[in-house]
């Protein structure tokens, strides 16, 4: 469960986030939509404790990320366009390393099987395709069994087949009751994976959308209007 209360972030004189408030229930899949520079990445940066907010508060499973950042980090897994993996290490070594950091002993082989990379466990990640790296990145993000999964434009630059594989993995995680926060440009991706979402523009929540109910057409207009 994620609670964002009047969150703002200013970079010298540019306001990236302007008093955002959100409430995402446990097990819900939520989409953040909006043009580039709307503040999506900044919001994700703060949620994943990489960025400090200028004002406002964020609670993850009622843990304030400003007060207990490390506790908050144990509850979130982040998949972004950067896989955060070491090319010089094998898939297994990468997961073992992160497992130690998260003080958890997951069954590495079953994790790799879940993202169907068990046949490449011993290979260097440097030899992996971008799609395989993203799948391994998911394994990295869920190895400490976080309750929340943050996907920051995870499928940018993936071809259709790897994107489909990626979606089926996320669907499987959704069914296991994980809360999912997705930021994306692809509207169909949002509709495919998420129940509810908001549209951000210039650091403000511009519109709340129920992704399952509204017709396809209307979505395009909402998005075009912002520019």
């Amino acid at each position: 469960m994620i609670q964002v209360e009047k969150l703002s972030k200013r970079f010298n004189n540019f306001t990236a986030l302007d008093g955002i408030s959100l409430h995402i229930k446990q097990g819900e899949s939520f989409a953040l939509l909006g043009p580039n520079g709307a503040g999506k990445t900044t919001l994700v940066g703060i949620l994943s404790t990489l960025l400090k907010p200028s004002s406002g508060r964020v609670l993850i499973d009622s843990v304030d990320i400003a007060e207990e950042p490390e506790e908050a980090k144990r509850r979130i897994g982040v998949v972004s366009h950067n896989p955060y993996l070491y090319d010089e290490l094998t898939a297994k070594e990468n997961l073992e390393f992160f497992a130690e950091l998260y003080d958890s002993e997951p069954d590495i082989n079953s994790l790799l099987a879940q993202v169907n990379l068990d046949h490449r466990a011993r290979d260097m990640v440097g030899t992996f395709s971008r799609g395989m790296k993203q799948r391994l990145s998911i394994a990295r993000a869920i190895l400490h069994d976080p309750s929340i999964l943050i996907l920051d434009e995870p499928t940018s630059g993936l071809d259709i087949t790897s994107r489909k594989a990626f979606y089926s993995l996320i669907k499987n995680l959704k069914s296991r009751g994980k809360t999912i926060l997705l930021t994306t440009h692809y509207l169909d991706e949002a509709r495919l994976l998420c129940d509810r979402g908001v549209v951000l523009n210039r650091g403000k929540v511009v519109r709340d959308i129920d992704l399952q109910a509204s017709e396809a057409l209307e979505l395009e207009d909402i998005f075009e209007g912002l520019g």
Binding site: L50, E71, K73, Y84, E100, L101
Partner: protein
């Protein structure tokens, strides 16, 4: 200060380095070449060598170390994996300590190889105990690695970082550099036992002060 985390990061860095090995080779070859060049600088049998050699030895480590240092944080910053570390529940200080230990292991590795090499190349007989000379060098390297790793993190987001790193680290290390040279000469020339050299104790205390300061200020560097 979570030793398990520090150790796993060090283990990871060493394994990454063992795969690529480009930093270690680079540093060692550089050390070997500069020792050779210094050798040319003086006639191997002249008395002046005795006076100059300790300085050579110490300077070789500083410049070889400089090459290795910039890799400490820059590689992780460029590949983006540093953000991966900040995502994990590992405190910033542990990341700094891990990098310091990793760099120290590299430097000590170089030192173990270069020290006998120095004695052979310069056929230099150390007046004092070889172990003392080695320890003085180690303290110097620790100080170098502490300040170097910290500053390599500081310049991560600067343009032309390797350059700026050198300009920043050397002046800050001048006190340690001076004291190490004095101690080295006292050990290698006047054969004074380590414990009775005031300078080395002072150098060691400088290193401790720098280390404490580094961990206090490190959070400000990692803060986006």
């Amino acid at each position: 200060m979570n030793f398990k985390h520090i150790l796993s990061v060090v283990k990871k860095d060493l394994r990454v380095e063992s795969r690529g090995k480009e930093t270690v080779n680079f540093m060692f070859l550089f050390t070997f070449i500069s020792l050779l060049m210094f050798n040319f600088a003086t006639d191997p049998f002249s008395p002046v060598l005795n006076d100059v050699a300790p300085g050579f030895l110490w300077f070789v480590f500083i410049f070889a170390g400089m090459l290795g240092l910039s890799r400490a944080f820059l590689k992780e910053k460029e590949t983006g994996t540093l953000q991966g570390l900040s995502l994990a529940p590992i405190s910033n200080d542990d990341i700094l300590y891990a990098k310091i230990i990793y760099n120290l292991i590299l430097m000590l590795g170089i030192q173990i190889i270069a020290f006998p090499l120095f004695i052979v190349l310069f056929n230099y007989n150390i007046a004092g105990s070889t172990l003392d000379a080695f320890l003085v060098l180690t303290i110097g390297n620790v100080g170098f690695v502490v300040v170097g790793s910290f500053m390599s993190a500081l310049v991560m987001s600067a343009r032309s970082r390797e350059l700026v790193l050198q300009i920043i680290v050397l002046p800050l290390l001048l006190p340690v550099i001076i004291l190490i040279i004095i101690s080295l000469r006292k050990v290698m020339i006047d054969a004074i036992p380590l414990l009775s050299i005031g300078e080395i104790k002072l150098a060691a205390s400088y290193v401790v002060i720098m280390a404490v300061l580094a961990s206090l200020l490190f959070d400000y560097i990692m803060e986006e």
